[in-house]
Amino acid sequence: MARRQVNPTRMELTSQKKKLATARRGHKLLKDKRDELMRQFLILAKENMSLREEMENRLTVCAKNFALARASMPSPVLDTGLLITGQEIGVNVGAKNIMGVTTPTLNVKMKSANSADIYPYGLCFTSGDLDIAVKSLSDTLPVMLKLAETEKTARLMSAEIEKTRRRVNALEYTVIPEITETIKYISMKLDENERSNQIRLMKVKDMMLEQARGYEAVNA
């Protein structure tokens, strides 16, 4: 593992040690965040899958019902029948925070509380098949709305998990080993300097002793 380009000084050693402590702490926190996000995401993904399957099955049935309705009455009558809408839907968008991920909450408001308002046409010229088709679609709507919220949340969370996972891995496999290596390098270098200093002093002492002995020999 490559070490960082630093001056091998005591001051640098202290600052690298501080960095290592921060990196370790960040790594632990991010790992916890990732695990918790993952847990919540898995629950959400399962729910998302079952909702989607339910919606797809229901919508396929709806499509069949509408095909039947279209077959049993003249096309223009059906088209004009659906032209005017009695029901209107509004959504209140809120935001929820899941482990630092902002996710939407969608609160649906029907404009008209009367459930019969989904039939905006006169019952006189339209066939009963159309009523069945519209009813089946209206029954599917809550599933579709729940799915929209769940799916969006799941997608936002998966992006966040990916980001967190990358950070955890970068810390674990690059940053922390790099700093450890740097600390090792600095302390070895410092030790080396220490030893070389020691030896130099010993040598100097020897030389001085030698000299002193020389003087003694001359003076004697």
């Binding site: 898995l42 899958m49 509408f66 968008v93």
Partner: protein
Amino acid sequence: MSRIAVMGDRESVYGFAAVGLDVIPVQENDEAGRLLRKLAESDYAIIYMTERVYHYLHNEIAKYEDALTPAIVPIPGVSGTSGLGVAMIKKSVERAIGSDILFGGKSNA
């Protein structure tokens, strides 16, 4: 108060008008992309889209992936489902976890 739109071929989406959604019939052409941008800029919280249009517009849709709204949700058209929606859930699980450990065993996609 935000609204909900349904985009797709006329056959697949006309029924949604009755239950109060805004129906926007589109073909798979440049017009669809322009309409999507217009919808996303105005106050639409959810945009349902038939799988074929979704597939055609996936480059445009990617721009709204990280935004809070609109939530763009693929729905099956009259011709039934192509498995796009399920495949997308699997992809997001794969993106988050690294491999599809949840639905890997299911073969219905």
